[in-house]
Symmetry: C2
Subunit: 235 residues, 2 copies
């Protein structure tokens, strides 16, 4: 670690850069962070270090740039393998399961949640809401079946939070914000008891608490996103 | 390996199941395959083993179901770690690069190529074509910069094909088919010399050749997809 440089280009409201912060904090890797002005003025450093997607997070480790949050999590786990907890479990099947649901969260759940509050047309918002309810139900079911009720553990990672906890956890305050904007309850003790209990355990973890965005601030930002970036289509 | 059961649910025209076949053949893992009737009659086995996405490929290893081609490739690499070549290189940075471009190929390139021939409106087809040209140019540039001209190696995997070769390679015949349908040249010796040379090397590899779909058959299928699954929007 001596002489290593670890820098994270981040944005306070990004669920994706939140993942990287939580993972580094959990592993106890010291890092410097650079807050990007994502909406108005992206830095030259951001444009140079992530020329393809031009977005956060970017992990700059010595002179290497690592982009895309799921890929950064794997990089952190592999680079600092012996340090702190492992993010991914050892079993190839457990790793595949965690990666499967992580991809599901990004490709399906994240997309449908965005549609719920950003689609201009009522019919599209309704479609996105139905899909979100279905996606949440699939996730709740996976808790019980694929993950076998977490086998009595508090987290997907076992005793401690791991890769999938961090991936889903990046979204928790956003889920609460979208619930507030739309008036639709997504996670509650009756219909999604496993997700609900997990969410509350996750938010109480020390290395998580200090990085979660503040709800009121994110709510204001959610209304801004809704206005500035409406979705015209939804598929 | 003794007593292991490895089964792949696949579809002959799927670039995603092609990846899994190539990886297993490369590693020398014996497997049984089940050809799915993806368009008309999905099997109960497929619906049960991939209830979330209901599509191929699924790797069934003993009683475990692994879905999503990129995740299956990692599973194969981790499960049969000592067997044959490694799909992913050892260095965390090289692994991150391979995963980054794999995600780019699936999220950006695959999507824009689909739009090129499946969008109903001319304006949308044009937009998708421009994006594809741009995506191909980014990939060509990455060959030279991020991958440093493959450092004199024939493949991303080094002397032998690896993870990223297989991910991109799953698409090669599809790229030729979309070129034929649209009349737009995507890969040629002048504008994309590195990709062009790589593509020809890739198609000559023994464990690849035997699995690639036949061009004329895939072209006929491409016209069918265009007719049956037109894209009404493109973003």
């Amino acid at each position: 670690m001596e002489g290593e440089q670890v820098k994270v280009l981040k944005y306070w409201a990004s669920p994706f850069s939140l993942r990287v912060q939580i993972a580094l904090d959990l592993k106890g890797i010291p890092y410097e962070y650079v807050e990007e002005d994502l909406l108005n003025n992206k830095s030259q450093l951001l444009l140079q270090s992530n020329p393809v997607h031009k977005t956060v997070p970017v992990l700059i480790h010595n002179s290497k740039n690592i982009c895309e949050s799921l890929i950064v999590l794997e990089y952190i786990d592999e680079t600092w393998e012996g340090r702190g907890v492992s993010l991914l479990l050892k079993s190839p099947h457990q790793r595949a399961l965690a990666r499967f649901w992580a991809a599901f969260i990004d490709d399906k759940l994240g997309h449908s949640i965005s549609g719920m509050y950003r689609c201009l047309e009522k019919e599209l918002r309704k479609k996105a809401t139905n899909e979100t309810m279905n996606n949440i139900a699939l996730l709740e079911e996976a808790f019980g079946t694929a993950f076998n009720g977490l086998k009595g553990n508090p987290f997907f990672g076992g005793e401690c939070i791991g890769y999938l906890d961090i991936v889903l956890g990046g979204l928790v305050v956003w889920i609460q914000v979208v619930e507030a904007i739309t008036g639709v309850t997504l996670i509650d003790p009756e219909t999604t008891p496993l997700l609900h209990a997990w969410l509350h355990r996750f938010c109480r973890v020390d290395s998580v608490k200090k990085s979660l965005p503040q709800f009121e601030k994110l709510l204001t930002y959610g209304y801004l996103v809704q206005k500035k970036f409406p979705m015209l289509t939804y598929e």
